[in-house]
Subunit: 246 residues, 2 copies
């Protein structure tokens, strides 16, 4: 009996170890209490409950994560756009935390791969991606507090996606902006696109962008065009920082 | 010339000192950068602008404070009501951060007394109170960060006002609950009501609630009934804590 117990507890801690590594990779920092993240990846179809009979799944965490995301983005916009009035700030925030955008963020992190569910993930609608993203933020808040939420949102949402000019419709395409810049500054550029299907049934495209024959940005998205645009944006911001530092 | 400068700078720092004391009293902690709070009390009619020409008034701070309030209340409800699902949590939060409730909170702190405005405060609508309350939270966030927002909201909103049972409509009146309790436990009780008009043109009522001839709670509100109810709630919670500690 004790051997069985030992085997069980070993396999359990191996599982914990794998999950810990996976979560750390997603977060970019070490989680302290894995249970919050387990909950964030548990679908209601698992019918799990705690000792008091309360359901264990990610739905309540979505509420918490949505609130944290809202306030982090609010603070960012407030500081970043001193000329924007209340109406402007509200509108910009809605664009950033739109359902569509959250779904994209969740997809990018491939969160669905970690979901525990009795229903096949193919039966989930599109919103599962955004819901998991919100739940993950809720779990971060419970595990490490507001400052870590802020860091995570900064790294995963604000830096790669929140560009005021683009949100305002002033920049239509980073790809054309980048190409223009390369031509003007006499740099060569090349987009290498490859299919990258993973094993979860959703088609992904990967893009490596080379400038002067060096890879300067990579991106992954559900269409070739989106992946190119995303890589261009990343490269554009990377170069912008360099230019500003000079 | 230098004497005039000195007199001016003295009177300026006296003003600062008074404002510092007033703000500290409202917050329950010391502000670090008074400018944020000055902005939180500046009405657009003052037509103030910063060096870049951006308007200095509390309107943008409302946006920030609203977001912080939303996430602090979300976290509180999430932890306090483990049985509540997403829909429940959303509904409860809306009740707590309702316009009506925020106006009441702003009125209680008498924030309007500190407003710098070229329009008489009598011409402001009812919502000025809630707007100032939100702006104050925004200023706290900028001055001291999320944790201080949390502390302030806990002290000024959650402890005195957020009662899940009452919000769910399970408790209709704390006054009747308290009277019932006093009668059952053989305590005497007495509500002493007095008018308390301040100097800002709004009529206020104050209530001191005595149990066994000792003042156990005080409250201030725009009607006698509201002030009695508020004092009863405070007393009820104070006694509940005592009972729970036993």
């Amino acid at each position: 009996m004790s051997i069985i117990k030992k085997i069980f507890s070993n396999s359990r801690s191996n599982e914990d170890g794998i999950f810990f590594d996976e979560v750390s990779k997603i977060l970019g920092f070490k989680p302290l209490n894995l249970n919050h993240y387990r909950k964030a990846f548990t679908h209601r179809s698992m019918n799990k409950t705690d000792d008091e009979g309360n359901p264990i799944n990610y739905e309540r965490l979505e509420f918490l994560g949505d609130a944290m995301l809202g306030s982090v983005i609010a603070a960012h916009l407030f500081n970043k756009v001193p000329t924007g009035d209340e109406g402007y700030l509200t509108k910009m925030r809605s664009k950033i935390v739109s359902r569509e955008h959250l779904n994209e963020l969740g997809k990018d992190l491939n969160l669905i791969r970690h979901v525990e569910s009795k229903v096949s993930t193919q039966h989930f609608g599109e919103n599962i991606h955004g819901n998991l993203f919100e739940a993950l933020i809720g779990a971060i808040y419970l595990d490490r507090g507001f400052t870590f939420c802020e860091k995570f949102i900064h790294k995963k949402v604000i830096v790669p996606y929140v560009d005021i000019a683009k949100l305002e419709g002033k920049v239509i395409s980073y790809k054309s902006l980048l190409i223009e810049w390369c031509q003007k500054e006499k740099h060569t550029f090349q987009y290498d696109v490859f299919e990258d299907n993973g094993n979860e049934g959703i088609k992904y495209f990967g893009v490596k962008l080379k400038i002067d024959n060096k890879i300067v940005a990579k991106a992954r998205a559900t269409s070739k065009k989106k992946a190119e645009e995303k890589a261009s944006q990343r490269a554009y911001f990377a170069y912008q920082e360099k230019i500003n530092k000079k």
